[in-house]
C-alpha cells in the first residue's frame, strides 16, 4: 500500500519567548523542526508500508531549506521526500496550502492513504487535513488514535473524541489526521541515517505540479492578518503561607468566597 505523509516545518517550540520589557518576540536559535505531531504521521506511514508493502512518501511545502529537514523522515524509514517550493506558495493560508498539497499529491499519484499530524504546533489550526481531503475529493477522519484494520480500498480506525472514541470505516484512498496516542515514533537507524544523507529530495515548483498560481500563496488565500499584538496577562499571584492545614483552610475560604465552587 502506498502512503503519503504531509509534514510541516515549524519554529522550534521554545523559540517564541516574549521580552517583557519591550513586548516583542525574542528569537533564540532560529532552529526549525518537523512539527512534532507530524512525526507520529511519519511513523504510522512507515509502519503501514512495512506491514503491507508499498511505498511511503513524505510531502511538504516550504522554503528550500526544508529539504534538509525532510532527510530526517528518510532516516526513520520514509522512501522518498518531495518538497513543494516556489515563491508562488508564500503567504498561503490553510485553504491555499490544502490546494497546493493536493496538486502535489496528485502529481506523486498512486496512493492509498494520506496521513497528516493532528495540527501544526505554530498555527494550531488543524485545518489542512480536512481541507486537503476535500480538494482531493476523498473522505477523511480526524484525530485518529488507532488503525484497527487497513487493506486495499478499506480502512477502519478509531477517532478520538472529547469523551472516548468512535470506530469509523472509510474506503481508500482517504486522508487521516493522527494524534500522538497512535504510536511511538522510532529513532533513526544508522542505516537510515546513511540513506538519508545520500537521498535526493525532489523539489517541485508550482508549474511542476500544474498548480494554478491564482489559487496559491497570497492570491489563493481568503484570510489576511490585519493586526498582531501581545496579550496582557495580569496575574496577581498570591502565595498562601502557613502550615499545610492553614494553607488549605485559607485556600478553600478564598475559593468558596468566589462562588465558583458552590454550584454542584
Amino acid at each position: 500500500m502506498n502512503v503519503i505523509v504531509c509534514v510541516k516545518q515549524v519554529p522550534g517550540t521554545n523559540e517564541v519567548k516574549m521580552n517583557k520589557e519591550t513586548n516583542t518576540i525574542i528569537r533564540e536559535g532560529a532552529e526549525a523542526i518537523i512539527n512534532p505531531f507530524d512525526t507520529y504521521a511519519v511513523e504510522e506511514g512507515v509502519r503501514i508500508k512495512e506491514q503491507t508493502g508499498g511505498k511511503a512518501t513524505v510531502i511538504s511545502m516550504g522554503i528550500p531549506s526544508v529539504a534538509e529537514l525532510l532527510r530526517q523522515t528518510i532516516a526513520v524509514g520514509i522512501d522518498e521526500a518531495v518538497l513543494l517550493s516556489d515563491r508562488a506558495f508564500a503567504g498561503s493560508d490553510s485553504l491555499a496550502t490544502s490546494y497546493a498539497l493536493s496538486k502535489g499529491i496528485n502529481k506523486i499519484g498512486d496512493f492509498d492513504l494520506v496521513i497528516c499530524g493532528k495540527q501544526a504546533m505554530d498555527g494550531d489550526t488543524a485545518q489542512v487535513g480536512p481541507g486537503l481531503a476535500e480538494k482531493l475529493g476523498i473522505p477523511h477522519t480526524t484525530y485518529v488514535r488507532k488503525i484497527e484494520e487497513i487493506r486495499k480500498g478499506y480502512i477502519r480506525c478509531q477517532r478520538m473524541t472529547e469523551d472516548g472514541y468512535e470506530v469509523i470505516e472509510m474506503p481508500l484512498p482517504a486522508v487521516i489526521t493522527v494524534v500522538k496516542e497512535i504510536n511511538e515514533p522510532r529513532l533513526p537507524s544508522l542505516k537510515g541515517m546513511m540513506k538519508a544523507k545520500k537521498a535526493e529530495i525532489r523539489i517541485m515548483t508550482a508549474d511542476d505540479i500544474g498548480a494554478d498560481k491564482d489559487l496559491c500563496g497570497l492570491k489563493g488565500s481568503p484570510t489576511q492578518v490585519v493586526e498582531t499584538f501581545v496579550p496582557v496577562h495580569d496575574v496577581n499571584s498570591e502565595m498562601i503561607e502557613g502550615t499545610p492545614g492553614e494553607q488549605v483552610k485559607r485556600l478553600a475560604e478564598k475559593l468558596l468566597s468566589m462562588k465558583f465552587m458552590t454550584v454542584k
Binding site: 519567548k17 494550531d124 480536512p130 476535500e134 477522519t141 472529547e162 475559593l255
Partner: protein
C-alpha cells in the same frame, strides 16, 4: 503582483520589524532591514513598523464573491442525542452580538434526529431562526453527510458569517466546508467583533502558543467562517418566552455515505469533559506515583470537575492521553484550574493559562507554574490534596 518589500528611504533601522517577525525572516543589513527568502508573507511586520516602511501588496485574490449577496449570521449547533452541546449556546451568545451589530438575523443550524426540544432551547438561547435537518441517518455525527448537507444550506442561504465550535467535530467539519466553497476559515477565535467602519468580521486568535494574538479578516469571500473554543464565549440567559422560527430546509440527505461510523465508545465517565468543565484538577509528576492520581480523581469528584494531567504523566503511562492538558493535549479554560505537582512547562501553560483562577501546588517555590497562579501553595501535593478533599467535602456537603 503580491509581495513584500522594504521601502529603503523610509526605513530608519529601528529593528522593530526584526523583533516582530516570528520566522526570523528579516535581517539588518547595515542600517536597513532586509527581507529574507524564508519570509512567509504573513504580514505581521507591517503593523509593527512605525514608519510605514514596509510595502505589502496582497494583489487581487482569486475566487472572490459578490459579498453584498450574503447576509445573516449562522452558527452550527452541535447536539448529542437531541440535546444541544454547551458550545452551541456559547456560539449563540457570540452570534447574537454580531447579528445585532450587523442588524441582521441569527440562525442556528442543527443537524441530527429528534430535534424539537433542541430547537426550542436554541431559540431560548438567542436564535431568531433554527434550521433543522432531521433524519434517522443523521443521529450520529458523520463528516460526509453533515458537510454535504451544510454546503447545500450555505449555497442556498448565503450567510455572511458562520461560526462553529472548535470541537472535535467542528474542527473537522469547518475546514471541509471552507475548502469546498473556497472561503476563509479562522480557527480558535477568542474574540469576534464587527468592524464598525465596513462591517467586516474581525477574528482574533492566539498564535505561537498564545504568545501573540493575531486579528484576521476574510474580506472578499463569504461566509466569513470562524471556530471558537469551548468556554471562550458567554451564553445568554435562556428566555423561553422568546419567539423564533423553526424551519426545515429542503436539502437532499445522502442515502448512503462512504464514511461509516460503526461504534461510539465512551471511555471517560466523569460527569463533565475537560473542555466543558468549570473546575479541572490536574496532576503532574509531583504526585510521585500513578496510583496517587486517585487523589486527583477524588478532589475533582468533590468539586464536580474533570481530571487533567501533565504531559509527563501521560508519557509515563500514569493516565490516558484524553486527559492531557497543554500544547500537545487539550486547551482548556475552566473557572478554576488546580495544578497539583505540575511544574508548569511552557507547553502546559499554553493549554491552561486562560483559566480564570489557577491554583498551583508544588514543592519547588521556583516552579514556573507559580508565575501564572492566582493562588500558590508551596508544599507537597500528596500532603495538601487529602486536606483539600476533606475541607471541600465539609464545605460543600
Amino acid at each position: 503582483m503580491s509581495g513584500i518589500r522594504i521601502i529603503e528611504e523610509s526605513c530608519i533601522g529601528c529593528r522593530l520589524c526584526v523583533k516582530a517577525c516570528p520566522f526570523g525572516a528579516i535581517r539588518m543589513d547595515g542600517r536597513k532591514a532586509v527581507i529574507l527568502d524564508n519570509c512567509t508573507l504573513c504580514g505581521i511586520c507591517v503593523p509593527a513598523c512605525k514608519f510605514n516602511a514596509i510595502d505589502y501588496e496582497k494583489g487581487p485574490v482569486s475566487n472572490a464573491v459578490d459579498i453584498t449577496k450574503y447576509s445573516g449570521v449562522w452558527i452550527f449547533a452541535e447536539q448529542k442525542n437531541g440535546v444541544p452541546e454547551p458550545i452551541s449556546y456559547e456560539l449563540l451568545g457570540a452570534g447574537r452580538k454580531l447579528a445585532d451589530d450587523r442588524k441582521t438575523r441569527l440562525t442556528a443550524v442543527v443537524i441530527g434526529d429528534k430535534l424539537s426540544d433542541a430547537c426550542e432551547k436554541l431559540i431560548a438561547y438567542g436564535a431568531d431562526e433554527v434550521m433543522a435537518v432531521e433524519d434517522g441517518s443523521l443521529a450520529v455525527y458523520n463528516d460526509e453527510s453533515y458537510s454535504d448537507i451544510f454546503v447545500q444550506m450555505i449555497r442556498k442561504g448565503r450567510p455572511e458569517i458562520l461560526l462553529m465550535g472548535a470541537t472535535t467535530y467542528g474542527r473537522s467539519l469547518a475546514p471541509r466546508i471552507a475548502s469546498r466553497i473556497n472561503t476563509g476559515l479562522t480557527a480558535d477565535c477568542t474574540r469576534l467583533e464587527i468592524d464598525p467602519a465596513d462591517g467586516k468580521l474581525l477574528q482574533t486568535r492566539p498564535a505561537f502558543g498564545g504568545n501573540l494574538m493575531a486579528t484576521i479578516i476574510c474580506p472578499n469571500h463569504r461566509p466569513q467562517m470562524a471556530t471558537v473554543r469551548h468556554k471562550v464565549m458567554k451564553p445568554l440567559e435562556p428566555d423561553y418566552s422568546r419567539k423564533g422560527l423553526v424551519t426545515r430546509p429542503e436539502v437532499s440527505i445522502p442515502r448512503e455515505t462512504s464514511v461509516k461510523v460503526r461504534e461510539v465508545v465512551k471511555t471517560i465517565f466523569e460527569m463533565v469533559s475537560l473542555a466543558e468543565a468549570d473546575v479541572i484538577v490536574s496532576g503532574g509528576r509531583g504526585l510521585g506515583a500513578p496510583e496517587n492520581f486517585k487523589l486527583i480523581n477524588e478532589l475533582a469528584e468533590v468539586l464536580g470537575g474533570a481530571v487533567g494531567a501533565s504531559r509527563a504523566t501521560v508519557d509515563a503511562g500514569w493516565i490516558e492521553y484524553n486527559h492531557q492538558v497543554g500544547q500537545t493535549g487539550q486547551t482548556v479554560g475552566p473557572h478554576v484550574y488546580f495544578a497539583c505537582g505540575i511544574s508548569g512547562a511552557v507547553q502546559h501553560l499554553a493549554g491552561m493559562s486562560s483559566s480564570d483562577i489557577i491554583v498551583a501546588i508544588n514543592k519547588n517555590p521556583d516552579a514556573p507554574i507559580f508565575k501564572v497562579a492566582t493562588f500558590g501553595i508551596v508544599g507537597d501535593a500528596m500532603e495538601i490534596l487529602p486536606l483539600l478533599i476533606k475541607e471541600f467535602k465539609a464545605a460543600l456537603g
